[in-house]
Symmetry: C2
Subunit: 417 residues, 2 copies
């Protein structure tokens, strides 16, 4: 069973907004065994929309469209959607009552004509009620293809997908099974990993597909099994992951989507009843953001001091200005002091500190672009390592954050749970 996801909106085609809706929908469809054939972003143009719909008609089973359902003149999806089905727009009383309550409740004003028009829907469509917004979703079938139109506001789209579309698809369609397993490795490059597992990869069964997802300092390996018997798929994946672990167990740090290194670090810290804080210069809060992105992080992540400026290092972290004058801001000594200071201030067991030059430029006599010091304070001592992460800026920041978490995890595991 196949789906195509269509995003309508010039803001995406000029790069003003990144389309995160399609990924969310694709993930939800994948979980119930519906394969996303393509994702497509097109303009707020009637002809472009109609041509696209016609091309997708009977090519896939489901077309999910987001965007262009707002109340304003540039929102033409609903009219065009209705026209494609040769239908007419009629007022839906339930939607009208809901819109009225939302507008008068939140904005404390009577609804205007534009709000009222949001209750207009194609007479033959099935309404997908939008509990958190004014524009309803619409479900209409033509020949072999279901067309579903959703608002583009992410939390409205998500609410309708989770509470209406997925349950409805599960009820109404037979679907195959997909099983994914992602193996997270740190410290070796894609080509090196591929070389080590070449024979294993060649022996994978036909119905299992391997994908490499490289990022600075880490490579994710994704296994996907497709078939009709979930038990067979799960078994085959488990067996192959086991044999893979025997080959590259030394660089595997975790499994599966949720299990990023920050999620595992969270579990490992909680199991040991230990806490962590960060003091970040060149990573600008990236490590704190990764650690605090994990639900329940407040149990072990005590906070972060993002100290861009020398002044902040002195005032907020209490680094000795003499030390900075003597060794420079980008130095092992300052990194070490940042880690021990934030560990002391936030009273944590572990603390990470980063200082470096992520670029783009380097002052004469100062650290070269790519030079980074990572300090790690543990309950017992503090260690510092120097790296040259090259450029550009983005890569230096990613590599620094990934390497720091890798170093942290190694130290955490030295303590017994």
């Amino acid at each position: 069973m196949k789906a195509t996801i269509v995003t309508i909106g010039d803001e995406i085609l000029i790069g003003q907004i990144v389309d995160t809706n399609s990924g969310y929908i694709a993930k939800a469809l994948d979980k119930i065994g519906i394969q996303t054939h393509e994702m497509l972003s097109i303009s707020d143009d009637k002809q472009h929309i109609l041509t696209t719909f016609a091309a997708l008609q009977n090519q896939v089973d489901v077309v999910i469209i987001t965007g262009g359902l707002g109340p304003t003149k540039d929102d033409i999806t609903k009219k065009t959607f209705c026209e494609y089905f040769n239908d007419e727009l009629v007022v839906n009383d339930e939607v009208l009552a809901h819109v009225t309550q939302l507008i008068e409740g939140f904005y404390k004003r009577p609804i205007n004509q534009l709000n009222k028009d949001q209750a207009l829907v194609p007479s033959r469509c099935q309404i997908l009620f939008n509990a958190v917004g004014t524009a309803p979703g619409m479900w209409m079938k033509k020949e072999h293809t279901v067309f579903i139109s959703l608002p583009g506001v992410p939390y409205e789209m998500k609410h309708i997908v989770d509470h209406q579309i997925i349950p409805k698809l599960v009820r109404e369609y037979q679907r195959p099974y997909f099983v994914h397993k992602t193996i997270l490795t740190y410290g070796q490059g894609e080509s090196m990993v591929a070389e080590r597992i070449e024979q294993w990869e060649n022996n994978l069964p036909e119905f299992i597909k391997l994908a490499y997802l490289p990022a600075p300092g880490r490579v994710r390996l994704r296994l996907t099994a497709r078939g009709t018997d979930p038990v067979v798929l799960e078994k085959a994946i488990a067996d192959n992951v086991e044999s893979l672990a025997q080959i590259i167990g030394d660089i595997i740090v975790g499994f599966d989507e949720g299990e990023t290194i920050e999620v595992m670090i969270g579990q490992q810290l909680m199991a040991r009843n230990k806490t962590i804080a960060t003091a970040e210069s060149c990573t600008g809060g990236k490590i704190a953001q990764l650690l605090s992105s994990v639900p329940g992080a407040s149990n072990y992540f005590k906070g972060s001091v993002v100290s861009y400026s020398t002044e902040a290092k002195i005032k907020v972290l209490g680094i000795d200005s003499e030390l900075i004058a003597q060794f420079g801001v980008v130095s092992a000594e300052v990194a070490s002091a940042m880690a021990t200071q934030v560990q002391k201030i936030l009273q944590t067991d572990f603390a990470i500190a980063t200082t470096g030059n992520a670029g783009p430029t380097s002052e004469p006599g100062k650290a070269a672009v790519g030079t980074v010091f990572i300090a790690l304070a543990t309950p017992n001592d503090v260690m510092v390592a120097e790296f040259d992460f090259g450029q550009p800026r983005e890569k230096v920041i990613d590599r620094t954050a990934n390497k720091a978490l890798e170093m942290l995890q190694k130290e955490i595991l030295k303590f017994l749970p």
Copy 2:
């Protein structure tokens, strides 16, 4: 002149990765007057790729493809790209020398066969040298369409787009002009704004298009003028923005892409030589991330304490546990104390604090989902406001962050630069 951007990779179609490459490329093309007709994400499947290329042939002037150029078995773009042009892969010595230097330099090991294969390129293609990675970009023309293949790693793609593709397109193609102007408004809903400016909107000239970009708590209005004379376009945009400002000047907080409210706050703080810090509970660092995302933020953003837990509020921010016991964590009193405490600790002029229940659940006797207190400490006093931002969680967090920045800006502007 039209372009279509194609992303190749199953990781996007299963929602494992969000495609940020296409938006970056579209923005770069838009700046030089090339219109992105469509964005397309397809699978790592030879037939799917070939069919897509054939469909785009002569439909647009430029096709930019990202992804699938890695060294591993699942990377099939280069072979397929070469096949589409009935060409053969040959070793490029410059690329081979570069790959050797990168691998031996960074990974400190001799290159393997997979690395060497990265130097294979179609014999007739123009190489787009990849200074920051191992996979080169490739430029090949067939009839009226140029096909450009790029690596999917974002910083590699960006480097080749910025340093090679854009300059080459500017040199080799005649292009029209686009002028965009984005007007940022806060505090009124899309339909309300549309009602107020309806007459102005109806009087816009044919060659100017208006788009509404709503988000919780704010609406961006984007004007786009297309034509051949940039002077005429700029003038028309300027005149219409001026007349718009006369209608909704009360809710306009800024103009243009870069000028988000956090960018303006940065300029306004610097002009007044004032500083800011945040103490965040329900926003979990969102406001700090917005403020610190602005280049040069270290001049005025001193840092943030993200205090999820009651314990962190007491230990790190030094909030009186009595106060929390008496009024509850989600209260005007605690919000106010958080703001004044972080202002004191980080020695700033202004401080924002947030505490609330973003959901999804609410404990009996505790604050309802959507209840948020925002406190703002200024050099003179501290103010607190209570809001009901409804649900879901994502909306509550966004609305809280936007409202807090809106409140902050109003207070900053009370001080003379």
